[in-house]
C-alpha cells in the first residue's frame, strides 16, 4: 500500500470550475424540458440567444482586458449565466431583450467587477432585474399552457415571433397569449396579485382559470415546471455540486414567512404551497441562491443568507410592486453578504471564540 503525502487541503473531489458549471447547466435540463413542454419552444431559443451573447460578450471584454480568451471562456461560467437568464425570460420575448440582458449581465455585472469570483451580485439575476425595470411590458408577456392556447406555436413560429414580433400566421404576442375563450391567461402570481388589487380575497383569486380548480394555489403547468427544477436541484445536491444549506434555508424561509403571513392576513396573502410552487422559488433556491461567488461563504452564513432570501421573496411578493421577487431578494441579500460573512466567521482550530 502506498502512503501518499500531500499538503492540505486534503480534498479528493477532482472537480474544477468547468465541471461544476457544466453540471449546474445539466441540472437545469428537467426544468427546461418541463418549461418547453408546457409553454412552447421559445425558451430554448431564448437560452440559445442568451448563451451566445454571454459568451461573445465575455470574449470581447476579456480580450479588451488583455487576458487569454480561451482560458476564461472554457470555464463555462458565461454559458451558465446565459442558461439561467434565458430560463427566466418570457418564451417569446423579442431578441433584443435577451441580447441586452445577457450583455449587461456579463459586461457590467460580472466583468466590470473583475470577472468570475469577483462579482458582488448574481449576474443572471441582476441582468433579469435590469430588464424587468427597463422593459416591464415585454417582461410580463408570459404565455398560457400550450395545450389550452388558442394559437399554439411551433419552432419556426417561435423564431419568427422573437425576431419580427409576428408568427408565420401573422399573430403577435398578445394574440398568442389568448386561451380558448379569447382571454389571456396570467401566471399564478399575476392572477393572485391582480385579484387582490381588484379587492378579492386570496381564496377568491384561486378561482382564476390558471389554477384549474386547485384550492392549494397550484397553477397549471407552472407547478410541474417548479417540480422539475426541484428534481434537477436534488440531483445537484446528490452529486454534491451544491450544499444543502442554501436551498433548504431558502425554501424554509419562504414556507415559514408564507405560513406566518397567511395566518396573520389570510385574505391578503398566499398559502405556503402557492408560494413554494409558483414563480421562480424552486428554480431560485437550487440554481440561483447557490451561486458560490455572490453568496455567503460560511455554513452558518449560508443558512442566514438563504432564509432571508426566502423571507424577502414572500414579503416583496405580498407587499411590493412586482409579482415575483426572487431576483430582488437575491440582490438585496448579495449586498448583505460581506456583513453576514463578517459575523459568521467560524472559530479557527486552536483559537477561542471571542
Amino acid at each position: 500500500m502506498q502512503f501518499s503525502l500531500s499538503s492540505s487541503p486534503h480534498n479528493h473531489v477532482r472537480r474544477d470550475t468547468k465541471q461544476v458549471m457544466q453540471m449546474v447547466c445539466l441540472g437545469c435540463i428537467p426544468g427546461i424540458i418541463a418549461q418547453t413542454y408546457f409553454f412552447g419552444l421559445g425558451t430554448l431559443i431564448q437560452i440559445l440567444l442568451a448563451v451566445l451573447t454571454a459568451v461573445l460578450t465575455e470574449a470581447l471584454i476579456v480580450s479588451l482586458r488583455g487576458k487569454t480568451i480561451s482560458a476564461v471562456i472554457n470555464d463555462y461560467s458565461a454559458v451558465l449565466t446565459g442558461v439561467l437568464l434565458g430560463i427566466c425570460l418570457p418564451p417569446l420575448a423579442p431578441w433584443w431583450l435577451v441580447v441586452i440582458g445577457s450583455f449587461f449581465s456579463i459586461a457590467i455585472v460580472k466583468q466590470l467587477y473583475g470577472g468570475l469570483g469577483f462579482n458582488m451580485f448574481n449576474p443572471a439575476m441582476t441582468g433579469y432585474v435590469m430588464l424587468l425595470i427597463s422593459f416591464p411590458m415585454a417582461m410580463t408577456m408570459w404565455l398560457p399552457v400550450q395545450s389550452l392556447a388558442l394559437h399554439p406555436y411551433g419552432f419556426s413560429d417561435a423564431i419568427s415571433v422573437i425576431f419580427t414580433g409576428y408568427n408565420l400566421a401573422g399573430y403577435d404576442v398578445n394574440q398568442l397569449r389568448e386561451i380558448a375563450d379569447g382571454t389571456s391567461q396570467a401566471t399564478p402570481l399575476d392572477a393572485v396579485r391582480s385579484g387582490l388589487i381588484a379587492g378579492q380575497t386570496y381564496s377568491e383569486t384561486l378561482n382564476a382559470s390558471i389554477f384549474g380548480g386547485s384550492n392549494w394555489g397550484l397553477g397549471k403547468g407552472w407547478t410541474w415546471v417548479a417540480l422539475a427544477y426541484l428534481l434537477g436541484g436534488l440531483w445537484l445536491l446528490w452529486t454534491k455540486v451544491i450544499n444543502w444549506q442554501m436551498p433548504v434555508s431558502t425554501l424554509a424561509g419562504v414556507a415559514l414567512t408564507a405560513l406566518f403571513l397567511n395566518m396573520l392576513l389570510p385574505d391578503a396573502s398566499g398559502g405556503v404551497l402557492f408560494h413554494l410552487l409558483s414563480g421562480a422559488v424552486m428554480f431560485g433556491a437550487f440554481f440561483i441562491v447557490t451561486d458560490p461567488v455572490s453568496g455567503s461563504t460560511t455554513n452558518q452564513g449560508r443558512i442566514i443568507f438563504g432564509a432571508l432570501i426566502g423571507f424577502w421573496t414572500v414579503i416583496i411578493r405580498t407587499f411590493g410592486g412586482y409579482p415575483d421577487a426572487i431576483a430582488f431578494a437575491v440582490i438585496i441579500m448579495n449586498i448583505a453578504v460581506p456583513l453576514i460573512d463578517y459575523y459568521t466567521q467560524p472559530r479557527t482550530y486552536g483559537h477561542v471564540q471571542k
Binding site: I108, I133, S134, F135, P136, M137, A138
Partner: protein, 233 residues
Amino acid sequence: MQPQYKELTWQGLWNNNPALVQLLGLCPLLAVTTTAINGLGLGLATLIVLMGSNITVSLVRELVPNEIRIPIFVMVIAAFVTVVQLLMNAFTYELYLTLGIFIPLIVTNCAIIGRAEAFASKNPVKASAYDGFIMGLGFGLVLVLLGGMRELLGNGTFLSGAHLLLGDWASVLEVQVFEFEQAFLLAILPPGAFIGMGLIIALKNLLHPKLEQTFAPQPEKVVERARVTLEES
C-alpha cells in the same frame, strides 16, 4: 493665453474636472440629468453661482477672519443661489419647475464651496472669476453629456424641452433620433445615472494619457546648458 490661465483651463475642463475627477456635486449631477436641457439649465445655474461666489469671496478674502470663513462663504453662495433661483423663476418658469428642489440645493454643491475655499480665498479677483467660469463650464459639460446620453437611450430624443430654457424659437432644436417600441427605462431611472457616470469616468481615464500629452501645459523648461554636438561628416 498666460500660463496661469492655461493651467486653470486644463485643470477645470479635464485634469481636475469637478464632476469627473473631484466627484463633487454628485447629487444634482445624478438627479437632474434626465435630459440634456435639464443638465444645461442646472449647469448654467451652477456656473453663474460659481463665478459670482468666486468673485465675491476673492474680493473679501482680506477682510474675512479665518475662523469663520466657511459660514461666510456659505452665506455668499446662498445669496447667489437665491438670485439665480429668482431669475429662473421669472424667465424660465417651466424649467424652474422641472429642476425643482435641485436649484436651492446648489447651495450644498461641494464643488462651489470647494472652489471658494481652495482657490478664490487665496487668489486675486480676475483669476478667481476665470477659475469659477472654467470649473462651472467643466461641470456643466458633464451634466449636458450625461443628460444627452440618458435622454438618447431612454427617450430617443436629443435636446427635448429646449424651448423651456432658450425660448420658443429653440423648439426647432429638438430632435427625435430614434423611435422606440419600448423605451429603455433604465437610462432614465436613477441606476442609469450611476452607470452612465461610471462609463463617462472610464472613458475619461481611457482618453487621459493621450490628452495629457497634447494639452497639458508643460512647465517651462529651464535650459541648464547648451549642448554642442559635432555632426559626423
